[in-house]
């Protein structure tokens, strides 16, 4: 029986702690001041993980803590607030690790009465956690071990009464692939940071939740009013170009010497019409998408060649739009798929480019098929694509031979060989076993000069956004507590967030500027990057979606929603200070784990050293070192090492390392 707690607004006030070694499950009450200091979601995870993971913990050992957290705004009547996060020490990078996913799992955590569920220890045999109506129990999962994520999810829903929400690993996580993620809603993946392997190492097959609790809010009418205002912007949908012409918008952006500050409303129109796939060709044309393991460009991947993945070509497969919980936009889709699977989630932009342009592959049917293979295996499509592109370049350079690959002709664009290689990676067979832990580990295993061809930051394969086009990406790939992350900031993201409209003291963006200004380092750019990091911690603490946040601060009322849901009266500046605190605590986590913070940066090729001689990014080099130092300075961290100073920690009220507030 659960004791009744005083009513909480917005958050549930409790977490569930599960020790898999001893099979002990207990609730922990989280004091209100923790929420006021760190919100919920990623902030709550940072608070618990920093406190509970000892220095030097093996990410795949019993000491690592794996948290599944919902967001403070999830279930409060806000929109775009269906993102849940999994967090732990990443086995891929050895740093703070988190991954984020939509679907219907996030509200399920809160409806069970918790803001987060945390796992320590290692179970003797495969188990899953089942929570329903105030009862939490570990159940045997031996019958599911080895089964793919979608099949497992369907079986788990059936055996727990038909109404559960499930987060589950596939064979990749079970086999401790360092590029594996956690799957929910039949093939959506919290993919990054290799946290599927942490779940696999704990022999935790799944988290199964059937929660029906009410989530109370302080001012429901106020929440609705704010949501209706936001929804009006989302539903504003003027006609746009046909999919086959969208690429030329990118061409225009490439050839002009000037750039317009990006308004997220334009991106929203694209997302609502096509999803992230709207950028499949446009990004290549404007220089945002890396081609041929980052050594190619739009010259190698011309519009005619990639026409098979143009937005309309992808949309042709879409049977119905897919909305995550509380999303009025619906950028996802359920697509028909030839073969045994029948359907798949619409491949995202990242997937299409990582397995397409990055490997010079334009076979759209096979990209759909690979998407479903990887989703079911629970393997990150970005890292898988990045690792395959690395392997192809190794093959091209003679570092890998046909003998090494088990007879596979690993040439650029050989879609058949790519499918066969992914099968091997999932099963960890032959060359697949070498590649299943990402390009950094693979390069070490292969030896020779393979390391120079691995395009990662701190071990994590880089996403499909080229920091030679927008240097802000390279900054965030390097300075975030989880390296190689594209969902936090860039110069273009800052333009879309439009934070200066509601937060005092932030730099404004000129509506039109010369492109060469992007490459000049300076305090203003550092302030923009720092603001993006802080804001995204608030967004991830609230459980909001990045794409919703792109609407702009006046159109998506993040701070007002937080106040209406909780009853707090915090200013936007105070929320940004919370974001700063979370960022600093994650950085302190990395310091505690003795990470060499300056090693978390992309390789020279990605920085334009030497610069490319053709294509959209020719002649461009990024002044990364200066930009990193300026960024650290914005947080009051040591400019050379990135270590938060005692003063910066104390100023944020992080006392004694938050060993219990």
């Amino acid at each position: 029986m659960i004791e009744e707690l005083p009513v909480k607004y917005g958050y549930m006030g409790k977490i569930l702690m599960v020790d898999l070694s001893g099979g002990v499950i207990r609730e922990e009450i989280i004091p209100d001041e923790v929420y006021e200091k760190y919100l919920s979601g990623i902030g709550l995870a940072a608070y618990v993980l920093y406190r509970d993971i000892p220095a030097g913990a093996d990410p795949l050992g019993p000491e690592n803590v794996l948290g599944f957290v919902s967001g403070l705004l999830t279930g409060t009547g806000s929109l775009f607030s269906g993102r849940w996060m999994v967090a732990g020490k990443s086995p891929l990078t050895g740093t703070w690790g988190d991954a984020n996913c939509g679907g219907s799992f996030s509200p399920a955590i809160k409806r069970c009465g918790y803001d987060g569920i945390f796992f320590t220890g290692i179970s003797e045999k495969p188990v899953y956690l089942f929570v329903k109506n105030g009862r939490a129990e570990l159940r045997d999962a031996s019958h599911l071990w080895g089964r793919d994520a979608v099949e497992s999810e369907e079986m788990l829903i059936a055996e727990t009464g038909g109404d559960s929400r499930v987060a589950v690993i596939g064979p990749a996580g079970e086999k401790l692939s360092l590029i594996s993620g956690v799957c929910n809603d039949r093939g959506r993946l919290a993919a990054r940071s290799g946290l599927g392997a942490v779940m696999g190492s704990k022999r935790l097959k799944a988290v199964v939740l059937d929660g029906r609790k009410r989530i109370d809010v302080h001012n429901r009418t106020g929440m609705k009013r704010l949501s209706q205002m936001c929804n009006r912007w989302v539903q504003f949908q003027p006609p746009f170009l046909p999919g086959s012409l969208v690429a030329y918008v990118g061409t225009l952006m490439r050839v002009l010497p000037t750039q317009m500050a990006m308004d997220g409303l334009l991106y929203k129109i694209l997302l609502k019409k096509w999803g992230t796939g709207s950028m499949n060709q446009m990004s290549v044309e404007m220089g945002d998408a890396p081609i041929k393991n980052w050594k190619g460009s739009n010259v190698d991947w011309k519009i005619e060649r990639s026409m098979s993945v143009n937005p309309d070509a992808i949309k042709r497969y879409e049977k119905v739009k897919y909305h995550c919980y509380s999303c009025p936009l619906g950028c996802g889709g359920i697509c028909s798929l030839k073969g045994k699977y029948g359907e798949t989630h619409k491949p995202e932009y990242e997937t299409v480019l990582a397995l397409g342009g990055l490997c010079m592959n334009a076979d759209v049917e096979r990209i759909f098929h690979i998407n479903e293979m990887l989703n079911r295996a629970g393997m990150d499509t970005i890292s898988a694509g990045g690792t395959i592109a690395f392997a192809i370049e190794c093959y091209e350079a003679g570092v890998l031979t046909k003998e090494d690959t088990g007879g596979l002709e690993l040439t650029w664009g050989n879609a058949e060989a790519i499918v066969a290689l992914i099968e091997k990676m999932i099963k960890r067979e032959g060359i697949g076993d070498i590649l299943a832990d990402g390009s950094k580990v693979a390069a070490r295993r292969i030896g020779k000069d393979a390391g120079k061809l691995a395009m990662h930051a701190g071990g994590q394969e880089l996403p499909m956004h080229d920091g030679r086009n927008d240097p802000g990406f390279n900054v965030h790939y390097s300075v975030e507590a989880t390296p190689g992350r594209h969902t936090i900031g860039s110069q273009m993201y800052y333009e879309m967030f439009q934070l200066w409209k509601v937060v005092k003291g932030l730099p404004r963006v000129k509506p039109l500027y010369f492109k060469d200004r992007k490459y000049v380092a300076g305090q203003e750019k550092a302030a923009m990057a720092a603001a993006s990091s802080k804001f995204m911690n608030v967004v991830n603490g609230a459980g909001l979606c990045l794409f919703g946040s792109f609407l702009g601060a006046r159109r998506i009322p993040v701070f007002d929603w937080l106040n209406a849901a909780t009853g707090w009266r915090k200013t936007p500046e105070e929320y940004m200070a919370i974001g700063k605190r979370i960022q600093t605590l994650k950085q302190a986590f990395n310091v505690k784990q003795k990470v060499d913070l300056r090693s978390l940066r992309p390789p020279d090729r990605v920085l334009g050293r030497p610069s490319q001689t053709e294509g959209a990014n020719r002649g461009r080099t990024v002044q990364l070192e200066k930009m990193i130092e300026d960024y650290y300075g914005q947080f009051g961290w040591d400019a050379r090492t990135g270590v938060p100073t005692e003063q910066s920690m104390a100023a944020l009220g992080i006392h004694g390392g938050e060993r219990g507030v």
Binding site: E4, L79, A108, G134, G162, R212, K213, Q235, Y325, G333
Partner: protein, 138 residues
Amino acid sequence: MAYRITDTCNGCGACRRLCPVEAIRGEKNMLHVIDRGLCIECGVCGRVCPVASVKDSFGIVCSLVKKSEWERPRIDTKTCMSCMICIDACPVHCLALSEAAGPDDPHGYPYLEKEKACIGCGFCARECPVDAIAMIGG
């Protein structure tokens, strides 16, 4: 806040059988109790109690309503944005998402899939951010 069963309860078990969160315990013909930690205040116990033994969170005695007269959600798909909030809010999972509405509208919309399972709690309508759901009496 939670509902409460008074000592006039005759132990018929009608409320226990319908409670969506298994918050009600009691032997047949014995006084039943509601677990305050589990109760979500959906009110179905009060609507089915034949002897007026359930008090709501404000201490008001609930009155019996015939099941055919319970309110049911009516969803205005023109206002609906397919955000899935109502489907998640329903404690008995009686709402489902339809297939795509048609060639010009690729969205699915929520509909009352299991009408008999609906307990008329109105949580779907309460949580809908754009007020696209109205609760209509039977």
